[in-house]
Symmetry: C2
Subunit: 352 residues, 2 copies
């Protein structure tokens, strides 16, 4: 070590890998080896280095790491932070990551394709080790293009044909079927689905999948000819308006399946205001089994897809890919019905 180096050490207070090396009386390369527990490190060396790290409170710079090797960070991209289902996914991700040396950084795209793209690029530019995209809006080819640069797992994105990236999904078709079957079992025949309007065209989207499942189950139940699907806009003023219109239709169905609890709960609320009794006049099933649905005040039957578990599985899948797995995996989880009063008075709060 030269004299200039020593001087530098004095005035600059940041503890770097070099400080550790000096303190432990070993080379920089040795410290790096210990950090990454690479091959060729003796017990003695390891001990010396670990002690020095401890004593100095050394933390490797992620920026510098990213420049050369891995950054031990995985990026999570959320389409929207307001949908209460998504925080569940995050919780699952964090649960798996907590004991590891990885950390999650989250970006929120607010459903804007451009922001989504630029966030993904940023995460790549940070040299993150992998990405979990939750319900991305981007077309499959684009995601595949990014997947060349960084391991990617998409959650809530139905594209079992993708070869460049993995997908982890609840079986949304099956979920919708389960909802319809439950309504059929209760004796309902006059069933409609309320889906998400506007944009959101791709078949990859969970919403489309639920529509497909809805149609199939209706068909099986002998109601194929009339399986109407209404569209509810996302934006707030129009949204309530569309629901009010639905509720006041005189050919209003006897039962409705909503693509998300978000809509189902608002629908329940408006129904109460307008004097439509649930489930007597109208049975309602939602999707996601959000915590609000479980409230006694709301008591909404819903399809449970455990976002938490989805997050956990996605994280494990991503890590396995980071650590070398080739070949895409496409994982499905089977959702289940949580029966509550909005489906049938007798149902109570018992699970399915």
């Amino acid at each position: 070590m030269s004299i200039e180096d020593k001087q530098k050490l004095q005035r600059n207070d940041r503890v770097t890998i070099r400080t550790v090396a000096t303190h432990a009386g070993v080379s920089v390369a040795a410290v790096s080896k210990v950090m990454r527990n690479a091959y060729g490190v003796s017990e003695g060396l390891r001990a010396k280095v670990t002690d020095a790290i401890e004593a100095l409170g050394y933390r490797p710079s992620r920026a510098a790491r990213g420049l050369r090797g891995r950054s031990f960070t995985i990026g999570v991209l959320l389409i929207d932070i307001r949908n209460p289902f998504l925080p569940e996914v995050i919780a699952g991700v964090n649960a798996v990551l907590a004991p590891s040396h990885y950390q999650a950084m989250i970006g929120v795209s607010d459903a804007r394709v451009q922001l989504e793209t630029s966030l993904i690029e940023s995460m790549i530019d940070y040299k993150m080790d992998g990405l979990i995209l939750v319900a991305p809006r981007l077309p499959s080819e684009i995601i595949a293009k990014f997947a060349v640069q960084i391991p990617i797992v998409a959650v809530g994105y139905h594209d079992a044909a993708a070869t460049a990236f993995d997908t982890v999904n609840a079986d949304d078709q099956r979920g919708a079927e389960i909802a319809v079957e439950a309504l059929l079992t209760q004796g309902y025949r006059d069933i409609e689905m309320l889906s998400l309007g506007e944009r959101e065209g791709h078949a990859v989207s969970v919403v489309r999948q639920r529509e497909i499942g809805f149609r199939r189950a209706m068909q099986r139940g002998g109601l194929g000819s009339s399986a109407p699907i209404g569209k509810i806009p996302i934006a707030s003023p129009k949204r309530e308006e569309a629901m009010r219109k639905f509720l006041s239709r005189k050919d209003r169905p006897r039962a409705v399946f909503c693509w998300s609890d978000l809509d189902a709960i608002t629908l329940l609320s408006l129904a109460m205001e307008m004097g439509v009794r649930v489930p007597d006049d109208l049975a309602v099933i939602g999707y996601d089994n959000s915590s609000t649905a479980a409230l006694g005040l709301v008591n909404l039957a819903s399809i449970d897809q455990s976002g938490r578990e989805l997050g956990q599985v996605a994280t494990r899948t991503l890590i396995s890919r980071i650590e070398g797995r080739a070949g895409a995996e496409h994982i499905f989880q089977i959702p289940s019905l949580v029966s509550r009063n909005s489906l049938s008075r007798s149902a109570g709060a018992s699970g399915a």
Copy 2:
């Protein structure tokens, strides 16, 4: 440009600042100058460089940037992603950041001090340009220590004496006062607060502040001697249990102020189950004015503190500090009452 450089360009496909420089026929330093729009760049040079960037689709590596200078990223630390108030703050942050060249990366600490610390350290190690901590659990001295290394703005953290970092808060004391005043105006005298139990001791926490405001307003109303504050645990089984116990007490108060909508809504729900009529038997005011509170089904009066605005203000404050402001700022916002049926039948859904 040497021959080796040319060869490297061929096999390595990453577009770096060097690629751009070669393509534009200028130096690397020149490109960097244009990127940072630094002093000493002619129109001609700027044009050449911008064209090259455009043509090559160049994106600067954040990792490399972080190593030397700024990374144009700001970190946001959330204590919890499930409280629906927090996404609002994020929305505010993103709104301010969107038109700028900054981006937000979010970390979730799940209220665990250790995870919180390590996330802050990570963000520093990433050379992020600044941090927004939302309702951090860390003591002020620790935050101050971090603030030496990176500009910090704390949101929902009451420490107007802090000199090392800025704070942005809703005036939680005032919010609680407003709630009590509203109850007093409705003629209630028998008022209790339901606060957050367990941990969360510091006076910096919003919860403590609301307790202080509650006590003061009760005192002013001549009810100083009896301003009882109950504690509700966070964890789920005990939480409902405590609320049930509260609701079935025979000396149950006529009105209650809950520290958060989260609790108020569950309370409303249990009240319905147990046959306690709201507001006739029990008036309820919550805090945060979450979207669930606004549902007709719930109809919970609440104190609105606009998380969105808090996020916007915090972001602007942080940026001004990043760009050189010294001296701490401590900003307050005044919350307002949103009156709804849980306070008084006549209230309807009209604002305050």
